[in-house]
Amino acid sequence: MSSETLTDARTSRLLTVIRVIYMLKTVWAVIVALLIGAIFILLAGGDPIEGYTALFKGAFLDYWGIGDTLVRMSPLLLAGLAVIIPLRAGLFNIGAEGQIYIGALFATIAALYLPGFLPGWIRIILCMMAGALGGGMWAAIPGLLKAYRGTNEIITSLLLSYVAIYLIGAVLHAWLIEPGAPYPYSREIDKSLELPIFMPRTQAHVGIMVAWAAAILVAVMLWRTTLGQAIQVVGHNKHASSYAGLSVKRLTVLSFAMGGAMGGLAGTFEVLGLKYRLFDHFSPGYGMQGIIVAFLAALNPIGAIFAAIFLAGLQVGAGSMQRATGIDTTMVAALQGLVVLCVAVGLAFKFHPDRWRRRIAAWRGNE
């Protein structure tokens, strides 16, 4: 073997290593965020190692903690999918919050008013369909406006969230409210509609598994169906795809509606699986946190499962951290912001094999 081919082999091995380092950039981003977060903990007068240990132990190493983390994961994952599908078509859905609320409203109405002679499981499926439909229709509004009026979907989807939240409040107030309730919440849904729990003595309901299945279905849809391929083509180049005969308008509306359906399901499970009622202001910002999930997962639906588990773990562990070190749970909100910021910084680093090859050659030359 000549020395030249040996150098080539070494170079390509080194390139593979560098490529892997680039592929893991989300992991680096999270690590950097956790390190900056450690400074926040120090500022708050806590011990970062003690704080993080308590946080991750509480979220992932404790039976009830795991149950809580999974419960939190479900809306975060579905909200993440609500962002991912339209973003694959190049559209920003930052209004998943509103879609979650409308989904929950539709599901609650279905749960309260579907005829009682239907078996429970059929009614549960109908409630889920109603929730998905509600979220999908609400999301179709910015989709339609974008497609047919060219209205900026970022602005409309977000503003519609505020409308949705107030709409829920008004509907609760005027119609669904439990008589005598001190705070606006609806009547309780029927016992037979409560989602079964799969981890005894926790709140982990089967909606969590449906969310996982939804993530897998979205992945299949995006990568194995013509619809998914069309969505991604539109995301890459709108003009080219309309030349190729794809209806950009139809795909704009459809991708938004599909995303909204995911958001609607998130709201549905909060009612059927967790609270058994529709509460005013029940979501602590799952819609916006779905954006973090989507970015963390690099828009990969399967990756979103892990991103959502991580984020849910942070939120659940925040309580344990507060009990152990006295640091306020909002520290995790700041940490989530740092994570998304670091992921955004990570987007600046793209792997260019040729540049690295040249750099390696330069280093070799210096030796």
Partner: protein, 314 residues
């Protein structure tokens, strides 16, 4: 339901409220407009209002004066602008992604830090704010005078900012360069204009202006800090920019219109206790959406907005 429109005293009251409510929108819209004219999409306005509000509370709390609050608010705004500029201009990360990241960071950071820095999390603060300044003669006009010409200094600053942005953009050489950079950075670069320097300047100044919107909320309206005090105002300001077709004067009128609807709905909440207040509270958001949808004709943003400039790709 609309009795207050007939009674002059009540009408003047509503108009005064409308002006007060439109001020944060005006600051944010002027800031965002400056950024977009230079070719940078600043969707982070919402987060910058929040940073400004938080900075104002920190400054006013620790320095014990509203001016201290103003300085820290501007510093926070400028810092968030620098972040947007470094990521979105130099590192060429998608500006919408950066903007959303800044909003999410602002939300988490301010809610954590406010609990760390303020007793009771900022909700129970009683900060020193700005008091109202009477403009001589004008404030003596019956009915309208006191509501329109006896406002705090920041209101006048906001209105001045509209003239300033308009003047700089359309009456100065720098403004012509800014617009050129926003339309065609490659051509501007070839003509010897410093594309990056101008964009950095516009984004940092624009973000500081948006932060003033938040400072106004804290230092003149509520005198405390609470989580998510921006409540979607940044996005309504974005709508006002589109509605104003990237012209400061029209965007200003759009802000006034949104402020008016907000004032009217507040009044109606008060007048109609039988109707759930949420029906009215949703109105300003709905109006902003409808205004965007009903926009007649094409609204053309500066043609290179949102596209980071890469000298190697000329």
């Amino acid at each position: 339901m609309f009795d207050f429109l007939i009674d002059p005293v009540q009408l003047a009251n509503v108009l005064g409220t409308a002006l007060r409510l439109s001020i944060p929108l005006i600051f944010a819209a002027m800031g965002g407009l400056l950024c977009e004219r230079s070719g940078v999409f600043n969707i982070a306005l919402e987060g910058q209002i929040l940073f400004g509000a938080f900075g104002a509370a920190v400054g006013a709390f620790y320095f014990g004066s509203a001016y201290g609050g103003l300085v820290i608010a501007i510093a926070f705004g400028a810092a968030s602008g620098l972040l947007l500029a470094v990521l979105g201009i130099t590192l060429r990360v998608n500006q919408i992604v950066v903007g959303i990241a800044i909003i999410l960071f602002a939300t988490g950071f301010t809610s954590f830090m406010s609990r760390l820095l303020f007793p009771g999390g900022g909700n129970s603060l009683k900060l020193d704010g700005f008091s109202n300044i009477d403009i001589p003669l004008l404030s003596d006009i019956p009915i309208l005078g006191p509501v329109l010409f006896s406002q705090n200094g920041l209101v006048y600053v906001a209105i001045f900012s509209v003239f300033a942005v308009h003047f700089v953009l359309f009456r100065t050489r720098v403004g012509m360069s800014i617009r050129a950079v926003g339309e065609s950075p490659a051509a501007a670069d070839a003509a010897g204009i410093h594309v990056f320097a101008l964009r950095y300047a516009c984004v940092i100044i624009g973000s500081s202006l948006a932060a003033l919107g938040g400072a106004y909320l804290v230092l003149t309206q509520v005198l405390l800090f609470s989580d998510n005090i921006s409540a979607g105002k940044g996005f309504i300001a974005l709508a006002a920019i589109v509605l104003g077709r990237w012209q400061p004067s029209i965007a200003f009128m759009a802000c006034l219109l949104f402020g008016l609807f907000d004032a009217v709905q507040l009044r109606m909440q008060f007048d109609q206790p039988d109707i759930p207040y949420q029906v009215f509270a949703a109105l300003p958001y709905l109006v902003a959406i409808l205004a965007l949808v009903g926009l007649m004709g094409q609204a053309n943003p500066p043609s290179s907005v949102g596209r980071p400039y890469d000298r190697e790709m000329r």
